[in-house]
Every structure is written in C-alpha cells, then in structure tokens.
C-alpha cells in the first residue's frame, strides 16, 4: 500500500471541485494507474464544503483510506475537515494571495502557489484549479502530459484556445513549484504503466448496462444520487433508437416506463428512496399485470429527505417488502461499479423471463464513486438477451381459448404466461391491477384468485430453481470467521482482509448481490464459528433476512453516519466484534 497516492481537492460547492477532481482522475487513468474516487458534498448548489478525493495506485484499489498525501485546499475548512488524514509527508497546495490566512499543521508541507494570479496570466481566474493540478504534478513527479490528455478530453468541445489556455495554466503551476520549492524529500514519484483503463461511476455503469441490454425507453425524475443514470442515458440512448422522458414526477415516470414495457420495449426508471415511495403503488400494478420492468433505487440516507448526499443502505426492506398486498418481485444489488453494469443486464432478462418488476438496488457510494477497470470487464460480447415467452403471430394460436381470446395470464406449471406485444395478430388483451382471470379480466372468484396468486409466486419458485443465485467470495474459505456483506461494502472488505491478515485474523468474506431471490447461506453460517453481517444502516436489514433464512443469530456491524466504510475501520470493527459475546438466541 506504500505506492498509494491519496490526493484531494476541496473548497466550496461551485468552486469547480468536481470537474477538477475528475480531470485529475482521468489523467491518472490515462497514465495506466488505478483510480478510486470519493466525494464529500452537500445538498446545495453553491457554498458548503465539498471535496473530491482520489486514491491511486498501480495496484487495484477498491476503497478509501484515512490518509491524504496531497491536498489542494481552496478554503480553510478543507484543511480543517481533513486534519486527521494529513501526515508528516503531506503537502497542502493553497493560494496565499487569497483573503484567507491558511492555518496548516507544522508537520505538513505548505505549498503556497498564487493560483489565481497564475491562472489570470494563462487566460482567466477560472483556471486556478488547473494551476493547482500542475503544481500537484510537480510535487508527485507525475508527467503533466497525461494531464494535457485529460484537459483535451474535458475541454475539446469548447475549442482549441480553451484547451491551450488550460494546458498553459497547468504548465505555469508546475513551473512555479519547480522554481520556489524543493519537495523531493517527500518522496512522491507517481509511476505510470501501459495499461488502458476506463474510469466510470456506478450510475454510468447502470446506464451503460441498460443500453447494452436493449433498454430503449427510460422515464425518470431528477433526484440525488440517481439523476446521473438519466443524464447518462440522455444523449446516448438515442444513438440506439431509444428515448428518455423527463417526467413531471416519479408517479408519472414509473407509469410511463410501465407503458413502454407494455408496448414491448425494454423499459427502465431510476430513482432514490423518496421516489421509490411514490412509485410503490404502481409497483403493485406492474407485478399484478405481470409487466417486465426494471426499477433502479440508488439509495441515500433516509428516512424522509434524510441526508440526500450521504451514503446509506436503508431501503432493503422497502424494496423487499414495499407495497400493499403481497407482491412477487426480484431484487438484485450490485456490489461493485462493474456489477452495476452486469446486474442491470441481468435485471432486464429476469424482468422479461419472469414478467415481474425487478429492483436494481444500488447506493450512493457506488453511484458517485469512480473507479478504473480493464475495458474487457465490460465485454459486450458477453451480454446475453433473453426475452422470455414473448410470442409472435405464429405462436399466439396455442395460447387462445375456445373463443379465440388470448390467455395473457394463462396458468402454467412454471407460473410464466405468454406475452404478446401490441401489433401481434390475435394477441390483443387487457391487463389490470385488479385480480383477474387468465384473460386479464376482473374476477373475484375464489378459485381464480388463488390460481393467479399461486401462479405469480410460482414464477419466483421457477426462478429460484433455474437461475444461479450465487455470491462472491474472498479471503480464506476455510476460516472460522464469516463476514457477509451486500452492496458497496465489498471493496472495503476486500482491503480489510490485508489489515486482518497483519493481525493474524482469518476471515471468509461473502458478498451477496441478490437480495431476492438470494442464495441460502445456512451451510456457510453453520460451518462458521462466528458470522458478522456488515451493512450501512442502523437496524441490520440484511442481517435480519439472513437470520430468518438460517434460523440463527448473527453479529452485526452497522454504520449509519452517512459515510461509507473504510478498509482499516472495518478491520478494526471486525476484530472488536469477534471478541464480543454471541447475541442471545
């Protein structure tokens, strides 16, 4: 871990923190380095502390750590917020000419660069962050040419003059540090490699997965932290014959998506907790009318408006149980940014094969974190599309009743009925949220009610038997200590294994991407001496279902501060938990 470099830029929202961070992350990725980013941001447009952090290494990095090597501070608060993470080899880049007097700890190198004046020399004060990036390149020995590439990517669309000015700003920043400081003793020397990585976040991966899976219609309403899915799809899905509608509210969004799905198109909506609440009535209709639809919930801190820009995994119960009556559904939860792509692809197949709504449950930590991957992690040749029992004109006949009516809700052994999209000759039928007969028409007959309820749940049984509801595994598979996790905690857990190994603690980690249906972990829990479930919520919602499945009590590590787990912190808590008594049966 010694080759890690941890860099951050911080200031007020509106200071261009996000784009500055993104440019540097892209430059590092272009240089063949692994990058893992995280963001601290407040729910406001301007003002309020905001920071963009990058951890980079030639090795794979999957989590954040409590250490900061280079900090670009545009405000004193940026320094104050990160005091604990600065160490005696850190450098803080700041602008001493600005109105604030920087208070920087003695052991930290204070690198005073007149960012604003230099930027003005290069063509405009707005480029002061780019000057800081140039300075950071000098301190870390990072070849500024990679920064040039990132600047071209970022500003290429705005004309060559803007690109050249930015390159100049970076160069001047680099030169200023070269002339005024000698920081070789800090020992930073950022290695580069020939690797070509791609850099993306979880929302983008979900959007990309949707297009790859043949999603053509998306309706959504902006909400943090899911908006990025819509922003990604807008402007790209059109290239594949699709369209995005920004609806007037979440109720409309999910109903539009439902319309698209009933019209036969693979359709999707994405929202966050409060939006899921609003969509829940229609969720029941989707399940009852057996409409294939993918609904993405990018979780944030709840309840109510909670902490919109903070991490939490509090919606598991909502997605698993939400809605009146009993509703068959699938819930998949990506554990990494790459999984955001693949689970979205899977979700579309489950939706159409089983004609159910499928929740893709992601979280803020996945959504706003960018990470580097080998491009073939997203190998499009591996995308398979299964449209299930979608019948064409020739296949309709076998599903007609004696009067020639299409049995859209035919009771079958596997619970799955035929599906005819509009335009299919003789496939015309009605669907409804009312309990219905095989033809989709309202019924309150006891037998028909029971048949339809059973049929809808039989689809879940079929899926439980037919699909591979697997988990991912890390660490020592023979260890007595079992740690179970879901969602974005996986990366931090994998890195925590290194710390635990140093402490001589063997742990088997199971990361579960399926909430329902889900793998039965009874045997694994039985084989372990201790089981701990790790999740970002207060009550242990996944631990509850695990206890229910395995009929035993488990230990829990819960974090609900609004901040994701860090590797070192997790390792410490695992050790603490292992020394605790097992909770009462």
């Amino acid at each position: 871990m010694a080759e890690d470099l941890n860099w951050a830029v911080g200031g007020e929202a509106g200071d261009g923190i996000d784009s500055t961070g993104k440019i540097f992350a892209q430059a590092l990725s272009r240089a063949g380095r692994h990058v893992f980013t995280s963001k601290d941001f407040a729910s406001r447009i301007r003002g309020g502390y905001t920071a963009y952090k990058i951890r980079t290494s030639v090795e794979d990095v999957q989590s954040v750590v409590d250490r900061l090597d280079i900090l670009v501070a545009l405000t004193q608060r940026t320094i104050d917020e990160n005091l604990d993470e600065l160490h005696d080899g850190s450098a803080v880049i700041y602008d001493g000419e600005r109105s604030w007097e920087a208070e920087i700890p003695d052991e930290v190198e204070a690198v005073d660069v007149p960012l604003k004046s230099i930027a003005e020399d290069a063509g405009g004060a707005i480029m002061r962050n780019i000057v800081a990036l140039g300075a950071a390149c000098e301190i870390t020995g990072f070849d500024v040419e990679y920064l040039d590439e990132a600047l071209e990517k970022r500003f290429g669309g705005k004309g060559s003059k803007i690109v050249e000015n930015n390159k100049e700003a970076a160069r001047l920043g680099q030169e200023y540090v070269q002339e005024h400081y000698d920081l070789d003793h800090l020992g930073y020397n950022v290695e580069t490699t020939d690797n070509d990585y791609v850099l993306l976040n979880g929302d983008e991966a979900i959007g990309m997965g949707a297009i790859a899976a043949g999603c053509r219609f998306y309706a959504g309403y902006p909400i943090t932290p899911a908006t990025n899915v819509m922003e990604y799809l807008t402007g790209r899905i059109e290239d594949y014959g699709g369209h995005v509608v920004q609806a007037e509210d979440e109720l409309s969004a999910i109903n539009m998506a439902l319309g698209g799905a009933r019209a036969g198109a693979r359709s999707m909506t994405a929202t966050s907790g409060p939006g899921i609440d609003l969509m829940t009535e229609t969720f029941g209709l989707i399940a009852t009318s057996e409409t294939p639809l993918v609904i993405v919930d990018v979780m944030r801190s709840g309840p109510s408006t909670g902490m919109p820009t903070k991490q939490e995994q509090g919606d598991l119960n909502m997605t698993l149980y939400g809605g009146h009556g009993e509703i068959p559904r699938f819930v998949v939860a990506p554990t990494t940014i790459a999984e955001c792509f693949w689970k979205t692809v899977e979700a579309f197949n489950y939706a159409e094969k089983y004609q159910t709504p499928v929740y893709v449950v992601s979280d803020l930590a996945l959504a706003v974190t960018e990470q580097t991957f080998e491009p073939d992690v997203f190998d499009m040749d591996d995308v398979e599309i299964d449209r299930g029992k979608l019948v064409d004109d020739d296949e309709v006949d076998e599903w007609l009743d004696a009067q020639g009516r299409f049995r859209a809700h035919a009771v079958t052994d596997d619970g799955i009925s035929p599906r005819a999209k509009p335009g299919t000759v003789d496939g015309a039928h009605m669907s409804t949220g009312l309990e219905h007969d095989e033809l989709g028409r309202r019924t309150e007959e006891e037998d028909e009610r029971v048949q339809q309820v059973d049929k809808r749940y039989r689809k879940v049984e079929t899926a439980q038997n037919e699909e591979d509801w697997d988990y991912r595994e890390f660490g020592d598979e023979d260890a007595d200590n079992l740690v179970i996790s879901w969602g974005s905690n996986e990366g931090a857990l994998i890195e925590a294994l290194d710390y635990l190994e140093d402490d001589g603690v063997d742990v088997r980690v199971i990361s579960v991407p399926y909430i329902f249906p889900r793998p039965d972990l009874s045997d694994e829990i039985e084989a372990a001496e201790e089981t701990i479930v790790v999740e970002c919520n207060a009550t242990g919602q996944f631990a509850d279902v695990i206890e229910h499945d395995a009929l035993t009590r488990v230990k829990r590590i819960n974090k609900y501060t609004g901040v994701r787990f860090k590797a070192d912190e997790l390792a410490e808590q695992i050790v603490d938990q292992l020394s605790e008594e097992v909770p009462a049966q």
Partner: protein
C-alpha cells in the same frame, strides 16, 4: 389494418356493469366506432384506462389495454406511444381521475402534445364511490361530502388544456351519438394530443347535470360556424361559463406531436439478440 374492421371488433364479450342509462355506454360506442372508422384494428390499438366507472372501459372493449392506477393513465399512454409510434393510443378516464388526482399529468401530457386521444367521461360526480363531489361539480352541488356544495368553482378542463398549450380541444355529449363519434374521430386523426371532454351523465348520483339538462342547453359550435383554428374565438367559448358547448373548440393545424419533435420513429420493442453492434463505443467513451 384491414378495411373490413367493424366497430364490434372493438367490443369484448364482457357485459358492462355500468348502471342502466349511464352515459358511458354512449361514450364507449363512439370510441369504438371512431377507432374502426379511422382505420384502426384491435391488434394495433392500445387503450389505457384509469380508475372509476370510466376505468372499466378497458374490460368492455377489445384491444391491447391496460387498466392502471388512479389518475396515471396519461403517463402510461405516453410510454406506450413513445415506445411504439406505430400503435394507435387512446386514453380514457373520468373527471376525478383526470382533473383531480391526475391533474398534474393532464397539464404535462397536453404540453408534451403526445400523439394520442384522451377521452374524459365527465359526469361531474364521483360515481363508483357513490356520489361525492368531483372537480367539475358545480359549487352549490350538494353531495355526501359537500352537504352545502363544494363552495369552490369547478375546474374548467378546457381552459386548463388551453393554458397548457393544447393543440386539440373538443367537447361532446354521449347521447348525441353521431356528433360524439365525429368529434372522437377528429381527435384520433389529429397529429398530437386530441383532448375530448365528454358530457357523460350519471343517472344514479347526479340529478342536476342530466341528459335533459344537456339536451336543452347544449350549443353546437360547428352549427354556430365556429372556426376551431381561430385561437381567440376558441378562448372566448372555452372561458364562457354561461353556456355548455359541444364541438371542436380549438385545433392547431401546425401541431407536431412529441415523438416527432424528438425524432422518435422506431418501434422500440425490436432489439438485437445481444448488445448492440457498436456497444463497445460506450465503453471506449470512458477511456
């Protein structure tokens, strides 16, 4: 779309459970005849219905159909039309469904100008919940929940549509079968959002807005020589609360429907067996 489609092809074999004499019978007949007359057939038609007496229509008609949740029929219709510009979409609802719980969606579907027809069975009462005030009930209309009347002016759906930038606004009367059907046909054929408010009397709970009332008071705009392309004239009749009108109040001949404005022409239900051919471009973008 074969030319020998009859309106009865749009009829299901389910007997309506509407009260005898309900205006919805006439409204539905006009919808079925209008669809057949404009060259549609059940396999290429999608009917979306809301909740309430009007919402039952999907059961009594034969086509691809969805009976949805209360007030959300228009977004469903929008989704169908965007995914399948090749399919004829008709949305049916009631005054409660459309102007109360669904009022927000109404405004936005109108301003989007989605190419579908929207038929609202306006009986100025909540029928299926047994007689409460609706958004179009008169301010002095006494009901179980408004014993002294709602004491608030009724929604003027036509004005709401006009203010939202509607490209087609019409009103008809379920009992005037021929005119009702003509108006429905014009709404279907309109390139954009074809909005028709239909006086569809509730014989059980509304003893004010009755067949006789409408028969006696209705003024036919086309008989009066009203020009639907004349926006100012349309504004005048729509805002005239002293008279009940039927006919096409306003039509914008230059109307370009939403899907065309957004370049959506393809049938989105047809997709490749795997990822699109050039899908790796999506990955390369992240280099």
């Amino acid at each position: 779309m074969s030319s020998d489609v009859r309106f009865t092809d749009f009829k299901s074999d389910k007997q309506p459970t509407w009260c005898p004499g309900c205006g919805d019978f006439g409204t539905m007949n006009g919808m079925m005849k209008g669809l057949a007359e404009t060259g549609n057939d059940p396999d290429n038609t999608f009917v979306v219905a809301g909740i309430g007496c009007s919402g039952k229509i999907g059961t009594y008609m034969h086509s691809y159909a969805l009976h949805g949740v209360h007030g959300r029929a228009l977004p469903v219709g929008t989704g169908v039309k965007m995914a399948r510009p090749d399919i004829e979409v008709m949305v049916a609802g009631g005054d409660g469904d459309g102007y109360s719980i669904g009022a927000g969606h109404f405004v936005h579907a109108v301003r989007r100008n989605v190419d579908m027809s929207y038929v609202v069975m306006d009986n100025r009462i909540y029928g299926l919940t047994k007689g409460q005030a609706s958004p179009t009930s008169r301010s002095d209309f006494e009901t179980s929940t408004t014993p002294e009347g709602p004491k608030q002016p009724p929604v003027n759906p036509l004005a709401l549509a006009l203010a939202s930038g509607a490209s087609f606004i019409a009103q008809s009367f379920a009992s005037d079968a021929l005119r009702h059907q003509e108006i429905i046909e014009e709404a279907i054929e309109h390139d954009g959002f074809g909005f028709v408010n239909v006086f569809s009397p509730c014989v059980t709970f509304n003893d004010v807005d009755t067949y006789d009332y409408f028969r006696d008071s209705l003024v036919d705009l086309q008989e009066e020589g009203h020009d639907p392309n004349d926006y100012e004239a349309a504004k005048e009749v729509i805002l005239d609360s002293d008279k009940e009108y039927q006919g096409v109040m306003y039509q914008d001949d230059e109307s370009v429907p939403y899907h065309e404005q957004h370049g959506v022409t393809e049938d989105m239900s047809e997709i490749p067996d795997g990822a699109p051919e050039d899908a790796m471009d999506l990955v390369r973008e992240f280099y």
